[in-house]
């Protein structure tokens, strides 16, 4: 039987390892890749993350904090998303890495191709795709744009590691390709301090 101490220890070890990588390299593509491999290795230890330890979503998506640093430190979460759960293309303003414990989630990557002259309007184009499933993950830099969709009939259970805790997120910019629109949700920092 897994103990909370074993899980907490593994999460703290990840933070230490990531801290060493960023101290040496900063946040570079190679650093993000190295961090992703560390997260994939942690997600591979499925016995540390039994679903019985985490409430399932009431609706179709839920994030459970595993380890969150204070102030502008890192945030590590276990995410459970049910089949059909999706997120439109968005830029959450801070780097992130994901790795799957179980299930499958498609990540589509985009870039903005308009000049931003028209407020509220944007055009994006797809530039890549990654299926995050066991033994794999994905990494994004600060202002990369991605969309997600749970594939198949099983919940997608994963680890999500962000440069900031969710409560410290900057504004998240959402794109709607079918409407050619762009909208921003306010920073959670503002919501927490309000």
């Amino acid at each position: 039987m897994v103990t909370n101490e074993a899980r907490d220890g593994a999460c703290r070890k990840l933070f230490t390892d990531v801290g060493k990588i960023t101290a040496k390299e900063g946040i570079t593509p190679s650093a993000l890749h190295a961090m992703k491999m560390k997260l994939v290795a942690l997600a591979r230890k499925t016995d540390l993350f039994p679903l019985s330890d985490f409430e399932m979503p009431v609706a179709q998506g839920r994030s459970h904090p595993l380890l969150v640093q204070e102030n502008d430190g890192y945030g590590l979460y276990l995410t459970i998303n049910m089949p059909g759960k999706e997120a439109a293309p968005h830029d959450h303003g801070i780097w992130c890495i994901n790795a799957a414990v179980s299930g499958r989630e498609r990540n589509l990557f985009y870039r903005r191709v308009d000049n931003g002259e028209r407020k509220g309007r944007a055009v994006i184009e797809k530039i890549g795709e990654v299926i995050v499933e066991p033994e794999s993950g994905m990494a994004m830099a600060d202002h990369d744009i991605h969309a997600t969709e749970v594939l198949g009939k099983e919940p997608a259970v994963g680890l999500a590691f962000y440069g900031y805790a969710l409560t410290q997120f900057p504004e998240v910019v959402w794109y709607q390709p079918q409407f050619r629109s762009v909208r921003a949700s306010p920073s959670r920092r503002q919501l927490v301090s309000a």
Partner: protein, 100 residues
Amino acid sequence: MPRNPKKHQVSITNANQVINCDANQSILHAAILAGIDYPYVCATGNCGTCVCLLEAGKVSMLAHGDAALTQEQVKAGKTLACRAIPRGDVTIKWLSRGGK
């Protein structure tokens, strides 16, 4: 000859408009296509900006995140326009002015 797809009427009280909504279309999608300045941000059930009061009628819900619509909000008759598919004619009132 294909039959016309079934449509429902959606009354949006803030905008004082009644629009048509396909039977498999979200209220938000129909509202935007009708030119209504409905407040939204993510349009995929993650942010909660398009939360509205379902004043009359019933909807089916597409997948959404727990944080975008709480059980308390559901009990209070609220829904997400981006995830709500009308099951008949409905009347709604949006509750946010964000997302601009």
